[in-house]
């Protein structure tokens, strides 16, 4: 056994809380409560990342998703009638539900197939006190600089598009 009992215990604890919050997130009628359960799921994912020594990814997970969900939260509060359960908060129609279920099944099948594959090797353990950002920034800004810049341009296009849509007056 590579990891001790405590590690296993917390791994499964965060895993179970994460999955349970995700299920609660999709079943809540109240959009505000749903958003909060989503935050909880993201938090558990961040905890798991940190347990796997991917501390940077864990911090960014909280930073990005917590902020993003806050915006969702605001839209819910401002647009969906102060979070009272409403028609807009619920997916209507059997067709949509069946499609979502099928998509979910496909994802589960994909996961099972992936779990049977040989996984790529882990990053080597870093000695204590080394710079945590280097293993991420080195490939990101040297090896994959072009894809990174293309992604940023894509995001910029999305921002400009959002501003154009918001500024257009009927």
């Amino acid at each position: 056994m590579q990891y001790g009992f405590l590690y296993q215990f917390f791994f499964y604890l965060f895993g179970v809380i994460g999955v349970a919050s995700a299920i609660t997130f999709v079943t809540r009628k109240n959009p505000v409560a749903a958003a909060l359960w989503l935050v909880n799921t993201m938090f558990c994912l961040a905890a798991l990342y940190i347990m796997m020594d991917a501390q940077f990814v864990g911090a960014v997970q909280v930073l990005v998703y917590a902020g993003a969900i806050m915006v969702v939260f605001l839209f819910v509060v401002m647009l969906l009638n102060l979070g009272q359960p409403s028609a807009a908060a619920d997916i209507k129609g059997t067709g949509a539900r069946i499609a979502a279920g099928v998509a979910g099944l496909v994802l589960v099948a994909e996961l099972l197939v992936l779990a049977r594959q040989k996984l790529p090797p882990l990053l080597p353990d870093l000695p204590r006190g080394t710079n945590i950002t280097v293993p991420i920034t080195e490939p990101l800004f040297r090896q994959y600089l072009l894809p990174f810049e293309l992604t940023s341009i894509l995001l910029l296009v999305a921002i400009v598009g959002a501003v154009v849509l918001a500024k257009r007056r009927g």
């Binding site: 409560a33 909060l36 501390q55 911090a59 909280v62 902020g67 806050m70 605001l74 509060v77």
Partner: protein
């Protein structure tokens, strides 16, 4: 051997003291958590007294002076009062979240302090003990991540109270914190450029070697200071609880200890922000002009001296918070938003580009960050500082009052008035003299 080479040797190579590990590490961590938490809570209690005393001093009054000598037991009396008071639950509030909200704002406020190094490492017979609860390698990112959660408590408090003033306070707070978080992050990137690491202990070490960041990153410091005031919801950015507009904003419906928890988290955020300001820009626990105290080999007295200096620096920023609170009036909401998005963000981005270019060219010119002119003045530090003074003069010249942010008397152009007129029922007339 030059001084900086010797310093580097002292800092990195000549460090015979091994960090503590194993069971003693666990015990030391538990002790540190208990001590830091206790000190933080007591500090917060006395900060409420300090705030009232300073406000009294600024307004030429006496302030609280009845409970104990010079009013020193006032925080105890206040705490007792808050615990004994009746708690009210509004009928229309959304129960579980109404109770969850103070907790959600209390916990992030307290745990952010965990990564701040508050003194030089302490050597013990079990090894070297870091004087921060957890010297996380992600340091500053952890603080940004946890600080971004603090807003949830405020927004949920505002929403679950089911009170329109509380909701307005919550919405204001979320918009404000999201806007200023961006500027805060960008302001800190300039610090990370110099330190090359996100860990706070590495940032302190870099400042010991190459001079405090406040001078070579003057504008970055200024941006961070403003963003820190906005993030802690203190005047002039206290719109979420603006008494004159929103009663008490997001905590209107809270009473007794729940109200007190919001209060504690506000002060705790202040302490963390002050500690961060001193860590990122004023050398953290480093003692000015005294290299021996700041470098290895570590000793007990060095821990003590550096702890005192850290406390002094943090207290200065806490005082600055209060000083500004009792001096400046509150921003108007549109001013707040335009300062955030139209001034701070472009300024931060432009500054980042300039600083990155400056650091790159200094590195290309082969100037070492630790090289000192005549053994005293760090050259790198002085060049960046001179650049920053030029930039600061330019920035303050351009940001002259009323040119970018609409001034307090509200000069509006004609189509803006027409747009507002279309929104409201009664006609708006421009103020006299415009």
């Amino acid at each position: 051997m030059t001084l900086d080479a010797a310093l580097l040797l002292l800092q990195h190579a000549y460090d015979p003291q091994e960090p503590v590990h194993g069971a003693p590490w666990l015990w030391f961590t538990i002790i540190k958590i208990l001590v830091v938490f206790t000190v933080l809570m007591v500090t917060i209690a006395y900060l409420t007294l300090a705030e009232r005393k300073i406000s009294a001093w600024i307004q030429d009054r006496h302030g609280p002076n009845r409970v104990g000598p010079w009013g020193l037991f006032q925080p105890l009396a206040d705490g007792l009062k808050n615990i004994m008071k009746e708690e009210t639950y509004p009928d229309a509030a959304y129960g579980p979240m109404f109770i969850l909200a103070p907790v959600l704002s209390f916990i992030p406020a307290l745990i952010t302090f965990a990564v701040i190094p508050f003194a030089a490492p302490l050597p013990t017979r079990w090894g070297l003990v870091d004087m921060s609860i957890a010297d996380l390698p992600i340091g500053f990112l952890y603080i940004l991540a946890i600080a971004s959660l603090g807003v949830y408590g405020i927004v949920i408090a505002g929403w679950s109270s089911n009170n329109k003033y509380a909701l307005l306070g919550g919405l204001r707070s979320s918009a404000q914190m999201i806007s200023y978080e961006v500027s805060m992050g960008i302001a800190v990137v300039s610090v990370l450029l110099l330190s090359g690491n996100v860990s706070l202990s590495a940032i302190v070490r870099q400042q010991v070697l190459s001079g405090w960041n406040a001078f070579p990153l003057l504008i970055g410091f200024f941006l961070f200071l403003v963003a820190a005031f906005a993030e802690t919801n203190r005047l002039p950015f206290d719109l979420p609880e603006a008494e004159s507009e929103l009663i008490a904003g997001y905590h209107t419906e809270y009473s007794s200890m729940k109200f007190s928890m919001f209060f504690i988290s506000e002060y705790s955020n202040m302490v963390t922000a002050s500690a961060l300001l001193s860590t990122l820009f004023f050398g953290g626990w480093a003692v000015p002009f005294w290299t021996t105290a700041n470098t290895a080999p570590w000793a007990g007295w060095k821990t003590l001296v550096t702890l005192v200096f850290f406390a002094l620096k943090t207290s200065f920023f806490l005082f600055l918070y209060m000083w500004i609170r009792w001096t400046l009036p509150r921003f108007r909401y549109d001013q707040l938003m335009s300062v955030g998005w139209k001034v701070m963000l472009p300024l931060g981005l432009g500054y980042l580009v300039v600083m990155a270019a400056a650091v790159l060219s200094l590195d290309a010119a082969g100037i070492s960050p630790v090289a000192r002119w005549a053994g005293v003045v760090p050259i790198y530090w002085a060049i960046l500082g001179a650049l920053n003074i030029v930039l600061a003069v330019l920035v303050f010249f351009i940001l002259d009052r009323g040119r970018i942010v609409s001034p307090a008397y509200g000069r509006l152009d004609a189509d803006e008035i027409a747009r507002l007129q279309a929104m409201s029922e009664r006609p708006i007339t421009p103020a006299q003299g415009d």
